[in-house]
Every structure is written in structure tokens, then in C-alpha cells.
Symmetry: C2
Subunit: 251 residues, 2 copies
């Protein structure tokens, strides 16, 4: 909410208001003191509102838990659910190299946990099957806000198998500092685990928490659903139209 | 909340999972249908949570109203409260030319109103005394989200007195389109009223609504409070120190 009001003490008002005299200055000083009192009431209401909203969020976080649990169990029955979901998501897919995608075929479970008081942060856990890339069974990244509101993040150190470190494959020649300055995307999905430069607004973390986690099925199904929404005849027409368009652009 | 789940229909899974046969494909299809059911439960809970949070916000908006009203009456007793507040606010002050500041000396009352359902938008009203710049008694700008979530804004047309249009004073030669492209600040506080290019994330609107309106007194007092926090002797030492520093820089 709002910052605490500055302490009000007697204030000499160098007003250029016509007819300002001792009396009106005293009145102004009193008005400021009253504003401060009213402001304290407003701040108190703001705090109460925040607490009530937090309680609502906590209540529903608990109510959602068994459904998330059930959903995870069902997702585990579908091979390649998560890699398909990530590939179908425009922002995540932009981070996926060919080998990232290979490695994500071993991703069996994703869990997003918001910490009890919600405002203090969240953690994302990625569960992997035995795979040729790294030893870890779980990779986690978590985001914290400390009491003064400063963000930080930490994550599992990835134990790469020999010669399999995907963060060292591409763009090795590119200077990391210059990449940061230009706000470019990390060059591998897995560099995200070692990048703690923007914990307060971690793009991938927030996409997973706020966009994918609330409804991953929509991204898993997106390709299928789109093509099925069209009648075969319509689909055929669309393909012809696009082919025509591409030909025109190339000529 | 999350987008509606894509309709689930039979899906041919071209799984490359070892041992995938007719039975496991049927199982996968069933799993997807169950995920969709679970997802509907999660979506239902999300909607309930949103509604409860909205009710809390509406309740506190009502509870705060009489205090905002009282605060406005008290502020009206203090000459130049709003212009001082705006000048002391770093982001707003960056928008203020010398003549904007002159005109804002006639600003007596600012009101921020969030619309009943909150999510749909807000309005800021600026009440002015009779002044040499424009005829209007009130200048308003309001921000709307329509039902599909698209933002728009509209505002009072300012009836400038002859030769007093502050939006036509500076940077006249600068091409407006190029200014837009470079995302520079408008050249006068008052151009903000005619700029509807970024209604979804109007910087000044949000600063006033979310930063100044919750506690304007802290900005009004900021200069005074800082100087009063120091004992006169400390203040004297600080002035000497800064004078010394400035002398060194100039020599």
C-alpha cells in the first residue's frame, strides 16, 4: 500500500496567497495535521483490505490444491505432455533449442508452489526421468521477496553429464554482459536456472506461474484444437490460400 | 483468470512412447478428458476467488470514501497543495513546464474515482479556480476496459483562452509521430489530456491513481520533512559541506 506518511510537525507556510496572515497559517497547519490523521485512517483501512484479500487468496490456494494434485497425476499418464505444452507456448518455445527440447522429453511433472503468505514468493519444481543430460531428478527455481520487498532467486545446480551441458552449446562467443544489457533472451532454457539477474520480474518464471500453470491443457491441445475447429474443406481452402500468399511473396 | 480450456475432442496421439498401443492411446484420451474436468473445477474456483476479492475491494472502497471526502475538504484549505505535491513528485514533475506549473496553481481539488466494479476503469477529476489559461472548471480523464478487456481513454476537451494553449508552446517543431515512436514524455502536462495512445498503461494516470492518491500528503511534505529531520546545527553543517563541494567542482 502507500508509504508511511511523513511525520507532521509545525510547518512554516511561505504561502503567496493573498491575505495570508498569522491566523490562516495556523489554520493551514491544523489542516495538515488533520489530513495526517485522516490519512492514518485510510492507511489502516488499506492494511485491513490487504489482509482480507490475502486470506481469500490463501483459502482458494488450499481449495485448489487437491485439483492440482489430481491434474498432475493425470498429466503423468500422457507421454510428452510438458514438452508439447512448452513447445506450443509462444514465449517458452522461443527459449527452446533443439537439444533443450530433447532434454524436456524426460520432464514428467511440473509443480508451482506459492508460499503460504503468497506475497513472499513461489517455487517451480521440474521432475525428470533418468536422462542422458544431467543427474538431477528434480530441478527447482524459487523466487523470494524479503521483508523490505527486495526480490531474489535461487535454484538447483544442474549436474550435467560429461559433455552434455546445454548452457554451453550456443552463443558461447557472445559476451554475457552485453547480452544482459540488450535484454536478450537466454540462449538455452536451462540457462534460466543460473540466471538470477532479474528475480523481481523473471519472465519465464512468471509465464509458467501465471499463464501455463493455471491451465496447461489449453497449450497442450492448441495445435490439435485449432485444426479440429475447422472442417476438412475449410482447412483445405486455408492451406491453398496460404500457399497462394507465400507464392506471391516469393515472386 | 485463465483462458477457457480448449474443447476436448478425441485426439489421435502420435506418441513415440515405447509400447504405445491401442489401449494406452485410449487411456491417454481418457486422461485428457479427466484433466479437462479437473481444469473446469480449478477455473470455477478461480472465478469464485476473483468475485470474493472484488467484493473485498468494493467494501473497502466504500469504507474509504468518507475519509477521502474529508481529506479533500482539508486539502482545499491549503493554498497550492496540489501544485506543490505534483512538483515534489519526481515522475510528475518531469512533465511540468514553467507555465504548466503556473496553471496548476489554480488546481484546487483532485479526485480519483474507481468505477463500481473496479476492473472496468477509473476517472481522475481536476477542479480549477477561474484562471487565465482555460475556461473549464473541471478537467477529467477516464480509463475504461470494455468487456473483452480492451482499454480506452477519453477526456475533457480543454477550452483554452486565446493564445494560452500550453500544449502548443514547446517542441512545436518536433514531429509528433516520431515523438510517439521514441516513447518520449509529452511536452506539457496538459498534452496528457489529448493523448489516448496508451490507455492500457497510462503512466501519469497510474502514478496519480496508485502512488499520489493513496497518500498525497507525503509528497506535499517531502521537502519540509527532510529539512526538519535535521537539527539546525546539522543542517548548517550540511549546507557548508555542499557549498564546499560545489566550490571544488567549479574550480
Amino acid at each position: 500500500m502507500s508509504a508511511p506518511a511523513a511525520k507532521v510537525s509545525k510547518k512554516e507556510l511561505n504561502s503567496n496567497h493573498d491575505g495570508a496572515d498569522e491566523t490562516s497559517e495556523k489554520e493551514q497547519q491544523e489542516a495538515i495535521e488533520h489530513i495526517d490523521e485522516v490519512q492514518n485512517e485510510i492507511d489502516r483501512l488499506n492494511e485491513q483490505a490487504s489482509e482480507e484479500i490475502l486470506k481469500v487468496e490463501q483459502k482458494y490456494n488450499k481449495l485448489r490444491q487437491p485439483f492440482f494434485q489430481k491434474r498432475s497425476e493425470l498429466i503423468a499418464k500422457i507421454p510428452n505432455f510438458w514438452v508439447t505444452t512448452f513447445v506450443n507456448h509462444p514465449q517458452v518455445s522461443a527459449l527452446l533449442g533443439e537439444e533443450d527440447e530433447e532434454a524436456l522429453h524426460y520432464l514428467t511433472r511440473v509443480e508451482v508452489t506459492e508460499f503460504e503468505d503468497i506475497k513472499s514468493g513461489y517455487r517451480i519444481d521440474f521432475y525428470f526421468d533418468e536422462n542422458p543430460y544431467f543427474e538431477n531428478k528434480v530441478l527447482s527455481k524459487e523466487f523470494h521477496l524479503n521483508e523490505s520487498g527486495d526480490p531474489s532467486s535461487k535454484s538447483t545446480e544442474i549436474k550435467w553429464k560429461s559433455g552434455k551441458d546445454l548452457t554451453k552449446r550456443s552463443s558461447q562467443t557472445q559476451n554475457k554482459a552485453s547480452r544482459k544489457r540488450q535484454h536478450e533472451e537466454p540462449e538455452s532454457f536451462f540457462t534460466w536456472f543460473t540466471d538470477h539477474s532479474d528475480a523481481g520480474a523473471d519472465e519465464l518464471g512468471e509465464v509458467i506461474k501465471d499463464d501455463i500453470w493455471p491451465n496447461p491443457l489449453q497449450y497442450y491441445l492448441v495445435g490439435t484444437a485449432l485444426s479440429r475447429a475447422l472442417h476438412p474443406q475449410q482447412l483445405w481452402e486455408k492451406v491453398n490460400f496460404i500457399t497462394e500468399l507465400m507464392l506471391q511473396m516469393c515472386l
